[in-house]
């Protein structure tokens, strides 16, 4: 069998790519693997690849009735869902106006909206903390929902406006000529066409909101703390305490976003490149 030089190089590059992808993924794989070890196995040296798996850590930290995991998970799901919903309620009409009824100020407003996304959270954390304290919003779901909605708003306006500008305009025009009012036009014509765009937008918002830590650690104590806070409590596990349990809790905390990202890779790419193609 004669292989051309090109084929050899091609095979080498393919193997290199696979090897690099395994290397990049390895830390995550190792975390998931460690979650099935008994504690003593988790800190054995050299690190062990083969062992008798146990579900004990998952039972203790994730599924146990005594574990706080369920409460943190509930907080994260609740806060993520309602912050994205709130952001959408404000952002969709804004995007609609900017796409279909632009004024002289629209371009300027768009730039200003994007500039608020560049505001560093650390730059405003002190006033936010004091305002929250004065308004009794510390450690409440509502407080975080409000902030995260503000954080997601620019992203959603930016992306949804781009998607709206790509809609086939004659369909919307036809609906208007048929006498559809704004609500009918939006719910019956625009919204169904926007669903792929909404999926891409919501996925990006989900990743940022689910994983957020800075506002959460500064503004929650116990009641409203999301999963990122629960995972952070394991920073004290250094030196070998609860390594397997820490791995189970961390793996459980990242699985929803990991799977959402895997399933919706195409939408993720669309979302991330929205700015590049516009």
């Amino acid at each position: 069998m004669n292989l051309s030089r090109k084929q050899v190089v091609g095979a080498f590059l393919s193997i290199l790519t696979i090897a690099l992808s395994l290397l990049m993924f390895f830390p995550i794989f190792w975390m998931a693997l460690t979650s099935f070890k008994v504690e003593i196995e988790a800190i054995s040296f050299p690190p062990s690849l083969f062992f008798a798996p146990t579900l004990e850590n998952w039972q203790d930290t994730v599924f146990s009735a005594n574990s706080p995991f369920a409460r943190y998970l509930r907080n994260t799901v609740f806060i993520t869902f309602f912050s994205i919903l709130l952001a959408l309620i404000f952002a969709l009409p804004t995007a609609y106006q900017m796409a279909f009824y632009p004024t002289k100020r629209t371009e300027g407003s768009m730039l200003w909206i994007m500039s608020t996304r560049m505001l560093p959270p650390a730059g405003v954390i002190v006033p936010v903390f004091i305002i929250f304290r004065d308004l009794n919003l510390i450690d409440t779901h509502f407080g975080l929902i409000l902030l995260y909605a503000g954080m997601n708003f620019p992203l959603i306006v930016w992306m949804m406006r781009s998607f709206m500008l790509e809609l086939p305009f004659d369909i919307i025009e036809a609906a208007r000529l048929d006498g559809a009012n704004l609500w009918q036009e939006f719910t019956k014509v625009i919204f169904p066409l926007l669903i792929p765009g909404l999926a891409a937008t919501s996925l990006l918002a989900l990743i940022f909101t689910w994983n957020e830590f800075f506002f959460a650690v500064n503004l929650t104590a116990t009641e409203a703390s999301p999963l990122s806070i629960y995972v952070s409590t394991f920073k004290a596990a250094q030196g070998g305490l609860f390594i397997a349990k820490m791995s189970a809790a961390s793996t459980a905390a990242i699985i929803p976003v990991l799977i959402a990202g895997w399933v919706a890779q195409k939408q993720l790419v669309t979302g991330l490149t929205m700015g590049a193609v516009k």
Partner: protein, 307 residues
Amino acid sequence: MASGSMSSSSTGKPGKREWRKFLSSPGLIFLIIVTQVPFVVAIYFSFNGWNLTRPASRGFLGWDRMWRNYSRILQNQDFYTVIWNTVVLTGSVVIITFILGLMLAMLLNRPFPGRSLARTLLISPFLVMPVAAAVLWKNVLLDPTFGFSTLLQRSLGLPVNYLFESAPMATVIAVVAWQWTPFVMLILLAGLQSLPDSTLEAASIDGASGFSLFRFIVLPHLKRFIEIALLLETIFVLNVFGIIDIATAGGPGLATTNLPYQIFLEYTKRFNIGRASAYGIFAIILANIVVVFLLRIISKQQEEVAT
């Protein structure tokens, strides 16, 4: 844009739909309340002498002493260390992720069996909660007694040490770069895939070599994608907080304290609202300088393209 302006003219009865121009108002008001109010309050607090341990100290410093927080910060050597750390961390991550992300995007931009699996594995670090990444690298992978760093150091005959202490900044940079490489890779991959094959074929028929294809066809086409990836990444990496809070607590000493972490310490450990707010203003100024600088590069190149 074209379709948008068409709508108001071609649908007739413009007056009837005039009110739709105000559909953005609730959103804009919401955004002003959530983002601009804290910004204005931050400016006000930065002229306060307020320390939470002394409640009576709340209030304006007075016209003669109003710049006290700023001057104290600027007179303190720590400030320059913290700014330098922020710039080094952000700059290094952006450069490393650009090189690795471009390399991986090019490797993925050719058909081979297992390609979609490789892509799935490669994007994963970006999806991992930064706090989970931090506890994982700190307590498992880099542990000085049972971690993989120890395995590697021993097998290479190097002295075994805890990397977050022996090379703190480099290690933080490595972990953040691990998380952000997939982000750059995904955007550049989309850029590569939007390059028509016919362009490349035409160029190689004209006798262009692999390198000049890359240099004169691929890179210029990618420019827009590179810019957007690095701009967005910079904005996020300037704000890195979780890994520092969890893995190093800004240390040893000030070695890994960046601007967000310094602000966090200033008000949660030293309870100094006034000075923490002034630090926050510096963070906003730094972010603006960086973004304006990057946007200027982008628009300059666009002008060159246009002319």
